[in-house]
């Protein structure tokens, strides 16, 4: 096993861990943070596997994809935090309202 696979597996663990936290944590800040960690896991898998080239330089295409992904993630996080604050202001709780309204 090479370094690429080591970090890729670390990314898999991050992804699964964050998915668990996303489902089980109730506070919206935890949920938004879970999505961020999940993103880091995905980026680590994609970026680490780019290191499997025969030369010393990693494949630049996946790295460019990861940079794009990181910027999209911060944009989404900023929006998420603003909506979280408004949810708390409107309902008094920084949590998702119950799903069943019917």
């Amino acid at each position: 096993m090479t370094v690429a696979f080591l970090y890729a597996l670390s990314g898999v663990a991050l992804f699964v861990l964050a998915f668990h936290a996303l489902v089980s944590r109730r506070h919206l800040l935890h949920k938004i943070m879970s999505v961020n960690v999940m993103g880091s896991g995905v980026f680590l898998i994609i970026g680490a596997l780019a290191r499997r080239t025969p030369t010393a330089d990693p494949d630049p295409v996946p790295l460019a994809l990861v940079i794009t992904g990181i910027v999209v993630a911060v944009a989404a996080t900023a929006l998420g935090i603003v909506i979280m604050l408004r949810v708390q202001a409107a309902t008094g709780r920084p949590e998702l309202p119950p799903a069943d309204r019917n």
Binding site: L22, V23, L49, T53, P60, V61, A64, V71, A78, R86
Partner: protein
């Protein structure tokens, strides 16, 4: 996410997910070429020397254009969801003011360096944009009020500059019979630097404003 499934189902799902992903990753061949070779072959005509920058701003520039649209979108959405909470007071103190006076010009210089560096080594628009945003944050933390008219068009133009310049360059090259975003090799370096400079300003502005959490109170509500 909502209806908490029973623990057993959740753990089964997680085990399947982890196991499947691990299996998928380990089934990949240990050595793969990817598109690295193709990128290297076309690097000379891309206008930059850094492969990652070449992919981001030239080969897959369309992705980056849409990504800058995502950043602009986040600002538009935040402005339509919330107004800036009122600041009670800044953290102004002599030490912070001193830091701001010394650090901010230095950070602007650093952003410029990162932009320039992105063409041949590590760096580029996003990194430079973050440094600009950090400089703006320091100013905000020091309690400086937003300049009068900050919600007006200068700020709006700054936020959209990256998207507009990127779109403009892409459309402009079509007048020479090229496809959208097909940068002429002789001009590619300069055009990319221009796009990155505009993008860095927009990224800096978007991030700094995102930190403030809403549209400026003096901005017209219709964002």
């Amino acid at each position: 996410m909502s209806r908490a499934p029973s623990r057993a189902v959740l753990w089964l799902l997680l085990l399947t997910l982890g196991g499947g992903l691990g299996w998928a990753v380990l089934s990949l061949p240990p050595v793969a070429q990817g598109l690295g070779e193709q990128v290297r072959q076309h690097l000379q005509v891309s206008g930059v020397e850094s492969p990652v920058t070449a992919v981001l701003l030239n080969f897959r520039g369309y992705d980056t254009l849409l990504e800058i649209a995502v950043l602009a979108l986040a600002t538009v959405a935040i402005w339509s969801v919330a107004t800036m909470p009122r600041r009670r007071r800044g953290l102004a103190g002599p030490v912070l003011v001193f830091f701001v006076q010394v650090l901010v010009p230095f950070m602007v210089l650093l952003a410029g360096y990162l932009l320039w560096s992105g063409s041949h080594a590590e760096g580029g628009a996003f990194q430079a944009g973050v440094v600009l945003a950090a400089a703006a944050l320091l100013v905000i933390l020091a309690g400086a009020p937003l300049p009068a008219g900050a919600g007006g068009w200068p700020l709006r133009v700054g936020l959209m500059l990256g998207l507009l310049v990127f779109l403009g360059v892409g459309v402009l090259v079509t007048t020479t019979g090229r496809n959208f975003l097909e940068l002429p090799p002789a001009w590619a370096g300069g055009l990319i630097l221009m796009i990155e400079a505009a993008a860095a300003i927009s990224i800096g502005a978007s991030l700094a404003l995102a930190f403030r959490g809403g549209r400026p109170r003096n901005a017209r509500a219709g964002s």
